[in-house]
Symmetry: C2
Subunit: 311 residues, 2 copies
């Protein structure tokens, strides 16, 4: 792949399409939206407004870390606090589709929709990649009509444009371009992290307390596997509980699943054959450091038939 050509063409196209208007994009900190943010700023400079929405579902210290990474590159990112809006939309929901829908609706129709309208921007930059499009066509992902989701109806939509500069790339291509652009390792080497964030790693209801549990497990897994070459590694909090025994008393504890996979583009994945001492150490930390957790399981399932995430 000719990265130089790709970057030049996308910058030129963004510039030409947006002209002297203003554009907006939401940065999640993931490699796709990060690359879109960098390409967008190279093309548009201050004409592009980039927001990072704190949805309460991010990892430990993540919103601040992402904003700083971009500030260090001279790209201003506005941190928008929206924790309560997301948590109240998720309260009481246990069905995976309903949870995903609540997050999508809150993100687009409420928070980002409001930001778009307030900004006056008519151009939206979005980090769609080829795999997203393929999975939507295959019925695995739900169709996203971004403008409709933003609450911009067909009539109002006149004049709005969505730009998807990465839509011809898969994940490995995105990384290649990031490396070509010499973006910091926090971006180019960042392991994939889903849009609905830690909510995809909670089976059952998403609450502040359960988020804290899976966030702590995620921090341990990322710390312990940060030096592995795995494609992705994560922790999942199950809704089921299992009997355990602590201080000679019965304890009905929570269960964390550790998942670590090898893949090039997330379409198919195999399970990483981690060394046993590493698995045991991760288990030991999870059951001793996280209150209420007394089981730790390792996911053995390739994709397909399992997906990488749990919901």
């Amino acid at each position: 792949m000719d990265c130089k050509k790709f970057v030049e063409e996308q910058i030129a196209e963004i510039k030409q399409t947006v002209g002297s208007a203003t554009a907006i994009n939401a940065l999640s900190g993931g490699v796709d939206s990060s690359l879109v943010t960098v390409l967008g700023h190279r093309a548009l400079g201050e004409q592009l407004k980039t927001v990072f929405i704190d949805n309460a579902l991010m990892r430990e210290g993540e919103p601040q870390r992402v904003v700083k990474t971009f500030a260090d590159m001279g790209i201003p990112v506005e941190l928008v606090e929206a924790q309560e809006e997301f948590l109240s939309a998720l309260a009481g929901l246990t069905d995976p589709e309903q949870k995903r829908q609540a997050i999508t609706d809150t993100f687009y129709a409420k928070v980002f929709g409001r930001l778009v309208r307030e900004s006056g921007a008519k151009f939206l930059l979005h980090g769609t990649i080829l795999t997203d499009i393929e999975e939507t066509v295959a019925g695995i992902k739900r169709q996203h009509n971004i403008l409709a989701q933003l609450g911009i109806d067909t009539k109002d939509a006149y004049g709005y444009s969505v730009l998807e500069p990465l839509k011809t790339l898969r994940k490995d291509g995105v990384r290649e371009v990031c490396e070509f652009l010499k973006l910091p390792a926090e971006i180019s080497k960042r392991i994939p992290f889903p849009g609905p964030a830690l909510a995809t790693r909670i089976v059952g209801e998403v609450t502040r307390e359960r988020l804290a549990t899976v966030r702590a497990a995620t921090a341990i897994v990322e710390e312990e596997l940060g030096d592995s070459d795995a494609f992705q590694y994560l922790a999942v909090l199950l809704n089921d509980r299992a009997t355990g025994i602590r201080d000679n008393k019965r304890e009905f504890g929570q269960i964390i699943v550790v998942r670590c996979i090898e893949s090039t583009d997330a379409r198919i994945a195999t399970v990483t054959e981690l060394p046993w001492y590493k698995l045991q150490h991760i288990c030991e930390r999870i059951i001793s450091e996280i209150k209420g957790v007394n089981r730790c399981l390792y996911d053995l399932t390739p994709k397909p038939p399992a997906t990488i995430e749990y919901i």
Copy 2:
């Protein structure tokens, strides 16, 4: 341990206690109740009536296999069909304590209680081992007052006796005695299997359909790990479901946990470091052979803080 002395003493004590009366015992097929059955028959011959209660919770072909193993040793075991009684007692229950209680109540107060009364036996042989007593004292197991559980009240209880010939042994001692007696490997080498049987390996409601799922997974795990030297290996059906992808379609599938442990007496246990090809092969069989299952996890947790079983 002096096995010869132990066996002689227990047989003598059973003989002396029961005299010319009749006794009864329930055989589960586990090593404890099997040894009690053998000792009891050596002591009492036809004065001991042994029943195997088919509670619908056993493994594939297990009731018939156990009866045949004892028939081959010249010990008659009566197979009592009680599937519906157990399944209707379990219907709708998801709380582990309530499930255990329903099984215990159905076993003692209903099925075995009826058999005891019908038999006229006043002596009950029971396979309690030292670990059971210790865990009851520690509050990990619930107190069992066997006579009360049988619906025999204090007044009626006059004249009833419960004999627990294994109460000074731990699991390894029980096995040693079985080997000394040259009992078939199906008994002496049999991996531990809990009293509430497959119900302890179903998180959530126990139904015929869910029993069939965990029974199929159990058969695969036992087939694949039968030649391992592990202390115990088992499969658990979780109540949670996870998103998967099969034939390019989203699938909300069931999850099986594989557990394999090293232990000498079940009080503490470590996880077996199985070879990866074995874990992958078990996973592959479980997700392809069992309808509706699309995840397979391996339990990394030692006991404590996890127990061996899940409920």
